[in-house]
């Protein structure tokens, strides 16, 4: 047994990310780690990689217990992790990337370029990468070569456990095939490989065993030869829908937004859908399916081709400013980077989009009117803050989210797009947010909810559209949707 993780438990504030998870990996084995977004795959691998520390549990390498306290220690134990995004320095040469931080030096600390070059070529050709100039910068080659360089870097450090997180996400079919050949070779050499992916067909092609995680718990481990995709999907999503999703029924109103043949080369293909007032339309899919890009495009952030019809008129939306004026608003999935002004207080953050409403004839902002309006929303949405003058950085995730809902509600939108509306929000506040969304629905606002949490999508949406790889791959009504059907469309089975 190469690697044995036993009883790994890890909590973050408010969430148990991993609950007593075991993992076993033998020499020459490819273990696929499968699970929905947020199931705990990444957290488990970050513990193995020394990025997070575990609360409980033990890690054994070849039967010996080890402590892994930092990424460096993890590498020293022979554990190499290849992340989803390339972590190379694009302007440095391939050989410098492979030996970054471990350059062999000659006298006077001069780098031994000849050694770096010959050793890099040796490792890469061993992987089957030939006809490549290792002295050229990484940026001159594509993503696939980048992955190979990362694997070469790990091999040059004598790693015997290799973790690959969604390695084929950005690769073409041919490049994927090449990567699989490399994986097969590593396998023959006795390396143990943990392969993280949601692509079921890849798992059946390359893995020996599959381990499924769900909500931080170990659901089971099966041999690939003894399972099928239906069983795996069942294992991934098979949780009970609890009744924590209040849903109200409103007769659907008139068509408010229609998207016709929307395209962004390489990102979105042929997107068509309609949104009605008084409706909650869910967008489901895996991370990277293009849902956020679609939402931002409708919000005027991206250039696009195709047509957007708003309230019966074709419109060209060129900026968020224009979208907001029309009545289309987008609440981001990334509050910290894209929404909040952390140096400033609740009041500043809440009214920033609607200052025009509080301006007097002389151009001054009427503080009285502003405070009165903001106080109203604090009460209505039950935003818990010591005062309007508290810095938003001191608010909990749920209250930050309610604050941002207030910001957009003040603009009196007709279309409200919510991207992961309950991410980083504790359970109690989640229900409060659903209730607010339902109230807005009853007022006749057309609402789009993007969510990676299937129960949420199934619980609150009237209609559900599923995306995969920049395309719409399925559409369901609330009544006909099931977790299994949605997941099939999300992985495009």
């Amino acid at each position: 047994m190469l690697l044995n993780m036993k009883g790994i438990t890890k909590s973050f504030p408010g969430v148990k990310a991993l609950d007593n998870v075991d993992l076993e990996l033998s020499e020459g084995e490819v273990l696929a780690l499968l699970g929905e977004n947020g199931a705990g795959k990444s957290t488990l691998m970050k513990i193995l990689g020394g990025v997070y520390s575990k609360d409980q549990g033990q890690i054994f390498l070849r039967g010996k217990p080890v402590q892994i306290n930092s990424p460096k220690e993890s590498l020293e134990h022979g554990i190499g992790i290849i992340h989803q995004e390339l972590s190379l320095l694009p302007h440095l040469s391939i050989m410098e990337n492979i030996f970054l931080g471990r350059e062999r030096v000659k006298r006077l600390n001069r780098i031994d370029w000849n050694y770096l070059k010959s050793r890099s070529e040796e490792i890469l050709s061993h992987l089957g990468v030939k006809n490549i100039d290792v002295t050229k910068p990484v940026k001159d080659y594509g993503v696939a070569i980048g992955k190979m360089v990362e694997i070469a870097r790990i091999l040059s450090m004598d790693c015997h456990i290799i973790v690959m997180d969604e390695p084929t996400d950005t690769l073409t079919t041919q490049e994927t095939e090449f990567l699989f050949n490399v994986i097969r070779q590593l396998k023959r050499e006795g390396k143990g490989i943990v392969y993280i992916s949601h692509k079921l067909n890849e798992i059946f092609e390359i893995a020996d065993r599959v381990q499924v995680l769900r909500d931080g718990k170990n659901i089971g481990t099966v041999k690939v030869s003894e399972t099928n995709s239906d069983e795996l999907i069942q294992m991934m999503v098979g949780r009970k829908l609890e009744d924590k999703f209040p849903r109200v029924c409103v007769g659907t109103g008139k068509k408010i937004l229609e998207v016709v043949n929307l395209q962004i080369p390489g990102i979105l293909q042929n997107i068509n859908f309609k949104l009605y007032s008084g409706e909650i339309l869910g967008f489901s899919g895996l991370v990277g399916a293009g849902r956020t890009e679609l939402a931002k495009t409708i919000f005027g952030v991206n250039k696009y081709s195709g047509e957007i019809i708003f309230e019966g008129r074709p419109v060209k939306i060129k900026s968020p400013q224009q979208a907001i004026e029309m009545g289309i608003v987008y609440l981001t999935e990334d509050r910290k980077q894209e929404a909040l002004f952390f140096e400033h207080d609740v009041l500043f953050n809440m009214t920033i989009s609607t200052l025009n409403d509080f301006v007097t004839a002389t151009g001054r902002i009427s503080k009285n009117r502003e405070v009165r309006e903001a106080d109203g929303y604090i009460e209505k949405l039950n935003i818990r803050t010591p005062s309007l003058y508290e810095r938003v950085i001191n608010l909990s995730g749920g209250n930050q989210q309610k604050l941002l809902l207030a910001r957009w509600m003040m603009t009196k939108p007709k279309v409200l797009i919510l991207d992961e509306p309950t991410r980083g929000v504790d359970v109690g506040a989640k229900v409060e947010i659903y209730n607010i969304i339902n109230q807005l629905k009853q007022r006749g606002i057309g609402i789009i909810v993007i969510s990676s949490e299937l129960p949420e999508i199934l619980g609150i949406c009237d209609r559900i559209i599923v995306m995969h790889n920049g395309r719409i791959t399925g559409e369901f009504t609330h009544e006909e949707a099931t977790q299994e059907e949605i997941m099939k469309c999300a992985v495009n089975l």
Binding site: Q321, I324, H344, F348, I352, S353
Partner: protein, 317 residues
């Protein structure tokens, strides 16, 4: 309960001290100087300090707008020189003082606007854009004036830098006016909020519907305008526009802004702080002169004071 109250009170006291830090620094500095030199605390000297400070304070007001958005303006000294040279040569050629001054101010505004457009439309980092403008405007000034000071400006031009209204010098009155307007814009208007928002989180500002290009262009235009205004006053006081006027002015202005507690990263700070910052530099200059410290040492001491102030500022976060 008592304990938490005490902590809360301590924290409140601490916060007030933090906010007033630059004022305390100014008072401390003044106290030391009044002990060291009996002439420091005289009416005429304090008026002198105010008059000298006003030149830097006006530039620093514009600089505050720019720095609040997370930018920087290195070109203020050169814009000052160029707009002064134009105004001075017009006055020299018998245009009325009013026309000459207004033209000078307009030139400053325009050069600032160009800075803003280079930053927003050309996507050039503010440091580089204004560095280029700094060099270009200085070069243009030298070409225009043929390297010679422009003199002979006439009576009308004399007033703005040397006159009094009641007991108070006109430059001081102008400075107070500029400070009040800037305070009003930053704290009471939409534009002010947008400036803070852009500096605090540019991405979020964009996704909030703020026209960030307009906001950024505006602050550079304001900075160009205040630089020109300061230049007009200097020209009037010297009764001459030397082509080297305002060299190094950007550093004093940035120092005043930073001493006043405005974050160089943008999003945080206020105009009152900038005024205190300018006063600290003014008092320091004046005090070192009164104490007959050689100008070489003056430079050094100024640098040390700025460094200490910024290091103290670091500790708050």
């Amino acid at each position: 309960m008592n304990h938490t109250n005490l902590i809360a009170r301590n924290r409140a006291v601490h916060n007030v001290l933090l906010k007033l830090r630059s004022v305390i620094g100014l008072l401390l500095l003044s106290a030391i100087l009044s002990i060291l030199s009996p002439r420091f605390l005289t009416y005429s000297n304090l008026l002198n300090v105010l008059r000298q400070t006003s030149l830097n304070a006006i530039i620093a007001v514009g600089m505050t707008f720019v720095i609040l958005t997370g930018g920087i303006d290195l070109s203020v000294g050169s814009i000052l020189a160029f707009s002064s040279a134009i105004a001075a040569s017009m006055a020299h050629n018998n245009f009325s003082a009013t026309i000459a001054i207004l033209t000078g101010l307009l030139i400053g505004l325009l050069l600032g606007l160009i800075n803003g457009l280079i930053v927003t439309q050309g996507n050039v980092p503010p440091f580089i854009a204004t560095l280029a403008m700094m060099t270009m405007a200085r070069g243009a000034t030298l070409v225009y004036s043929n390297g010679q000071p422009i003199t002979g400006l006439g009576e009308g031009f004399y007033l703005i830098g040397n006159g009094y209204i009641g007991q108070i010098p006109i430059p001081v009155i102008i400075t107070i006016g500029v400070l009040l307007i800037a305070y009003y814009v930053l704290s009471q208007t939409r534009t002010g909020r947008y400036i803070y928002a852009v500096g605090s989180n540019e991405n979020a500002a964009k996704l909030t519907g703020i026209n960030i290009k307009m906001v950024k262009t505006l602050v550079y235009a304001i900075s160009g305008f205040t630089a020109a205004l300061s230049g007009i006053i200097i020209t009037s006081r010297l009764n001459s526009a030397p082509p080297t006027a305002g060299s190094g002015a950007e550093l004093d202005a940035i120092a005043a802004v930073v001493l006043g507690g405005t974050s160089l990263a943008g999003g945080e700070g206020h105009i009152a702080g900038t005024f205190i910052g300018a006063l600290i530099i003014g008092v320091l200059n004046n005090g070192l002169n009164l104490l007959n410290v050689s100008s070489y040492y003056q430079q050094f001491v100024k640098g040390v004071v700025i460094l200490i102030a910024v290091l103290l500022d670091r500790r708050k976060s």
